[in-house]
């Protein structure tokens, strides 16, 4: 655990330095830059690109979480039960759509820029959360549900005080999957002119400047790994508080 914390702090520091003081790393990237070409990406500040990237992901994931959990609650109530098989089919088939294809298909209808990227991130982000929320809400221990009914909780109280807290770890796993996919898809979003860190990588690919590619790749990769790790930690913490046994493999 100790070593893990140390590694996290180290990686976090490297990431901050890469974003805030890119010039410090000129000597690292210099061998990859073309002869006499620029080494450090300077067309836009890396900080503003990072903030815009993370902002897009946060906005899309929050909206996706709200909508997906609401929908999952609706289809697991008796009134919405007729839609349960269909929603299972939709999430199964929908997740076979490649995120890039969703992004590419959003462009003809919505145009270029951050808008279509946001819509694509939101739509695609719905599926893992929805799927996990359905699983979480429909696989609750029957004994607990019976007990909740027995002590006289109303439907709404059962939902808020029993079902949602019990399903929370599974829902959080869905949110984590969705955020990871969103981070990756947002990177590709720069091909449709969204302001994200992918811009750095794409600029490198277009000008044959491997230094840019590596710089962008490292920043995006570190962000993804650290965010993923933080979410795993939050899940483990909540799981311990709910009194569960953490599973050995966290998939």
């Amino acid at each position: 655990m100790k070593r893990g914390t140390l590694l996290r702090v180290a990686l976090g520091t490297v990431l901050l330095a890469l974003v805030l003081r890119p010039a410090w790393f000129a000597w690292v990237f210099a061998p990859f830059a073309p002869e006499g070409g620029p080494i450090i990406y300077e067309r836009a500040s890396l900080l503003s690109l990072s903030l815009s990237h993370l902002g897009l992901v946060a906005l899309a994931s929050t909206a996706a979480t709200l909508v997906a959990v609401t929908l999952a609650i609706l289809v697991t109530r008796p009134a919405g039960a007729a839609f349960l098989p269909l929603s299972r089919t939709i999430t199964n088939m929908g997740q076979t759509f490649p995120p890039v294809a969703v992004l590419a298909l959003a462009v003809p209808s919505l145009g270029f820029g951050s808008g279509p990227t946001l819509v694509a991130l939101f739509l695609y982000g719905l599926l893992p959360i929805f799927e996990n929320a359905i699983t979480g809400l429909s696989t609750l221990p029957p004994a607990t549900m019976e007990a909740a009914r027995g002590i006289g909780l109303s439907r709404r109280q059962r939902l808020v005080r029993v079902e949602l807290p019990l399903a929370l770890p599974v829902i959080l796993t869905g949110i984590r999957l969705s955020v990871v996919i969103a981070l990756g898809t947002a990177t590709i979003g720069s091909t449709v002119a969204a302001r994200t860190l992918g811009e750095v990588i794409i600029a490198g690919l277009l000008t044959n400047n491997t230094a840019y590619v590596l710089q962008g790749g490292l920043i995006v990769g570190l962000f993804a790994v650290l965010i993923y790790d933080a979410m795993v930690q939050v899940e483990a913490f909540l799981f311990r508080r709910l009194g569960g046994q953490p599973s050995e493999t966290s998939e």
């Binding site: 990859f32 098989p85 269909l86 299972r88 089919t89 939709i90 199964n92 088939m93 997740q95 076979t96 759509f97 490649p98 995120p99 890039v100 294809a101 590419a104 298909l105 462009v107 003809p108 209808s109 270029f112 990871v180 981070l183 990756g184 990177t187 590709i188 091909t191 449709v192 992918g198 990588i201 794409i202 490198g204 690919l205 491997t210 590619v213 590596l214 962008g216 790749g217 490292l218 995006v220 990769g221 993804a224 790994v225 993923y228 790790d229 050995e248 493999t249 966290s250 998939e251």
Partner: protein
């Protein structure tokens, strides 16, 4: 126009009734036929006297109706929950009809088909390249990951060390992963004699292929372990009681019982790689991504569709086929409600 409209309306009416799922399925099929008929009749009618450079492409209404009808069909099918053989049959019929439709040339007036006609050779190359990337990386990942899974199943220490590394690797956004592969393989191509000759270079097929293999390892290894661990203790005990050696138990008990879970891992990998292979288009790796990104650069919707639609279709078909395989390998059929 009229027969198409009638078929579409009749299909929607049939599709919206609640009682008989088979009729809903038929309604959706009828509606789709009407939609196709309308498009095939509408395109030439619009092109009359419109000049050589005129193009016709279906508008938002077509796509909305297509989605609605597909949803109707999905709903009917999920209510019927057909067995694996019925599903395979339905898939074959749908694919045959689609092939017939594209071959017959009734849609050739649409602009996406004209894009296709002018790029037939490039399209064939892209298809082969895309399939090569997706299936090649699947095969490589299986060749590495399946034995690795068996070893991890036996040694808990290795399992605890390896799985987190693999899952972190999967978190890295694809574009970043492809980007990091470029200098790495470029260096290998320069440093190792003979590596360039077999096509290892910073740009192109090699970095895309390697990135896909790395992404595939987690689902393959994790599902292999989960599959082997899913053997009921009683079965394992019985196998030991019969005097089977460790290898015999693995081959004759644990692997057959874990097969559905292992195949489910391969399904995840295949679908994921078909999607990720699109991004190879950005680093010169070929595949349908070439069309998608060319189209995005030129704001040519038809070119985007020419790359995106086959990818989606390929992913859907492989998901359905793999699902059927998973169900066939299940020792006791699972009854889904």
């Amino acid at each position: 126009m009229v027969p198409g409209m009638v078929a579409l309306a009749a299909g929607l009416v049939l599709g919206l009734q609640l009682a008989w799922p088979w009729l809903r399925l038929a309604g959706a099929a009828l509606g789709l036929a009407g939609l196709v008929w309308l498009v095939s009749q509408g395109a030439p009618a619009l092109l009359v006297g419109a000049g050589d450079y005129a193009r016709v492409s279906p508008g938002a209404g077509f796509w909305c109706l297509l989605v609605v009808l597909a949803l109707l069909m999905a709903d009917a099918l999920s209510n019927l929950s057909p067995g694996p053989f019925t599903r395979a049959g339905l898939l074959a019929v749908v694919l045959a009809l689609l092939a017939l439709l594209l071959q017959s040339g009734v849609l050739s007036d649409l602009s996406i088909m004209q894009e296709y006609a002018s790029r037939q050779d490039a399209f064939r190359d892209a298809t082969l390249r895309h399939l090569g990337l997706a299936f090649g990386s699947l095969a490589t990942a299986a060749a590495i990951g399946l034995p690795l899974g068996i070893v991890c199943h036996r040694r808990a220490g290795l399992r605890r060390a390896l799985l987190p590394i693999l899952s972190f690797m999967q978190t890295i956004p694809s574009l970043a992963m492809f980007g990091i592969m470029i200098p790495l393989l470029g260096w290998v191509g320069d440093a190792v004699p003979g590596a360039k000759a077999i096509g290892i270079a910073g740009i192109g097929f090699a970095p895309a292929f390697l990135a896909l293999v790395l992404y595939s390892l987690l689902p393959v290894v994790a599902n292999m372990i989960a599959g082997l661990q899913s053997t009921p203790p009683a079965a394992r005990e019985a196998a030991r009681g019969m005097g089977m050696t460790e290898w015999q138990r693995l081959i004759r008990v644990e692997l057959p019982l874990g097969l559905p879970v292992i195949l489910a891992g391969l399904r995840i990998v295949l679908v994921q790689n078909i999607g990720l292979a699109v991004i190879a288009g950005l680093i010169g790796g070929g595949g349908f991504g070439t069309f998608v990104f060319q189209g995005l650069n030129q704001t040519a919707t038809d070119l985007i569709l020419l790359g995106a639609l086959p990818t989606v279709a390929l992913a859907l078909v492989s998901a359905i086929v793999m699902d059927i395989l998973v169900e066939l390998t299940r020792p006791i059929p699972e009854h889904t409600p």
